[in-house]
């Protein structure tokens, strides 16, 4: 049996999406030309927009720029304010959080190399920032607030509406990295009150290499990719049309399956979580009411995360220790440390993330295998050794 529980990293494509994805490669004509092929392509593009706009609650006058990923969108937003700073906006300060993805942290680090300043808000034991702290962090020269919707690692959902109200009150543009939002909660960017919102199709059973950057009407914008008049001049490069069309379909399906996510999938998640907590010396993190419905973060005392992944993998179970890139960077532990866990335990964290394709059978299989895996690895573990150095 193969059980894929790393859906916060990336998801398999829905077969319905895949069909459209492959079929629409036929629409290869340039969308900007008058000939029939181009007109067909343009029409398909407009149909995709007609799904994307209501799909995230955007207004007609807003922009949705088709990008290659959340990472691209995040960089575009941060660099819009780097540009303004370089041109004398006088706004050198960015507020963000410690639980952002590298695609926010890295461009923020870059902003610093150009003389900007960044405040990283800490999160509490539920992985959430405190809006009051956020408000206190605001300065005269704050250019941007950027807070992710939810963490792929802790699953913690941030109080985005409260944050957007504060941002609005102080008249500061607010970006929300929404990579973990679509398919897990109903997204309405206008309701949320964000100025920017980024997402990637591959996080919700769409294709890789395509994402969206929502830009509220009138929000500052500077191209990351300068070029021709594609995307209304807001992003150069030929449009990845079949990707865009498939993303629209994936969004539609994600929204259609939201109920299922909050009932069936959340229940499976709960079942898994309870089974884990039956095992001695385990712990789960982040209060469910603040957590993505598909996510469990658990620690298994004495078992280093990567070794756990190994044994899970041997059993055909795929989970994660931290962010997508953690396996090379060993940063998984930061997740639990940020949730207030002791360093010794922090390295034993595992993230299980389900999807609408996860079945009860699969979860039962994992529940069946876990105790044995834990036992084997604890037998190896120093933590459980009886004799220690004197």
């Amino acid at each position: 049996m193969m059980v894929y529980l790393d859906n916060n990293s990336t998801t398999p494509m829905d077969n319905r999406v895949k069909d459209i994805y492959c079929k629409s490669t036929e629409l290869f004509g340039n969308v900007n030309v008058i000939y029939q092929l181009g007109i067909d392509a343009r029409r398909a593009m407009n149909e995709a927009y007609d799904i994307l706009y209501p799909g995230i609650g955007a207004a007609d006058e807003d922009d949705i720029i088709i990008t290659s990923s959340t990472s691209e969108g995040n960089n575009t937003v941060i660099k819009t304010f780097i540009d303004a700073f370089l041109k004398g906006s006088g706004k050198k300060h960015i507020i963000t959080t410690v639980s952002e993805h590298s695609s926010i942290k890295a461009p923020c680090a870059y902003a610093k190399t150009l003389g900007m300043e960044v405040t990283y808000l800490y999160t509490d034991e539920n992985g959430r920032i405190d809006p009051i702290e956020l408000e206190n962090a605001i300065r005269e020269d704050t250019a941007l607030i950027s807070v992710l919707f939810a963490s792929n690692e802790s699953g913690a959902i941030q109080p985005i509406k409260e944050i957007s109200q504060i941002a609005r009150k102080h008249n500061i543009p607010f970006h929300c990295d929404g990579a973990q939002a679509i398919g897990k909660v109903k997204v309405n960017v206008r309701d949320l009150g964000v100025d920017y919102f980024t997402f990637s199709a591959h996080k919700f059973h769409g294709p890789k290499g395509v994402g969206g950057l929502y830009v509220r009407e009138g929000a500052p914008y500077v191209n990351l990719i300068h070029g021709g008049n594609q995307m209304g001049g807001k992003r150069g490069g030929s449009v990845y049309l079949n990707g865009m069309i498939a993303m629209a379909e994936a969004l539609k399906l994600a929204n259609e399956h939201l109920d299922e996510m909050h009932t069936r999938v959340a229940k499976l998640r709960d079942k898994l979580e309870e089974a884990i907590l039956q095992i001695p010396d385990t712990k789960s993190y982040v209060d469910k009411k603040y957590r993505l419905p598909n996510t469990v973060v658990a620690s298994f005392r004495g078992i280093e995360g990567e070794s756990m992944l190994w044994d899970l993998n041997v059993n055909g179970i795929y989970a994660a220790t931290g962010s997508s890139c953690s396996s090379e960077r060993l940063e998984g532990s930061e997740v639990l440390e940020a949730l207030g866990e002791d360093p010794e335990i922090a390295h034993t964290g595992i993230i299980f993330s389900l999807s609408r394709f996860t079945t009860e059978e699969e979860i039962d299989y994992v529940i069946e295998k876990l105790p044995g895996i834990v036992e084997r690895l604890r037998a190896i573990s120093m933590t459980y050794a009886k004799v220690a150095p004197k």
Partner: protein
Amino acid sequence: QYSNKVIDRMNNPKYLGEFTEEDAKKRGLKLVVADFGSEACGDAVRLYWLVDPKTDKIVDARFKSFGCGTAIASSDMMTELTIGKTVDEAMKITNLDVEKALRDDPNTPAFPPQKMHCSVMAYDVIIEAAAKYKGKNADELRDNEIVCECARVTRKEIEDIIR
């Protein structure tokens, strides 16, 4: 993206052609020939009118064009719209009238917004022709109608900006 009327008129313009002085003389009418635009700029149109000097009525009209499909279809429609009108009445025709006349249904634009400029020439050439007929300068005859509906831009505004 293009209405059937645009497509028809591009594929089979009805008022394509020209009149000569002889044509005018034979019919006892006055020939007016006016150009707007230039081939060097990439868009141009030429309008031919046969006007009854007694009534100022445009009895017949033809056009020639150097422009895209939209420009050709717009010129054809514009030419048709001027026929049977007096020169003064014809001057009231705008590119928006031309665009509306090219719609298949009243609520769907006849061509994409970025092609709107291609129909503007159709208005301008009427003014040129009217000026020729009246022996006036075309600039005196232009007024402030809206030439770009999407942006609500008037001709005068455009001219002010270009100046």
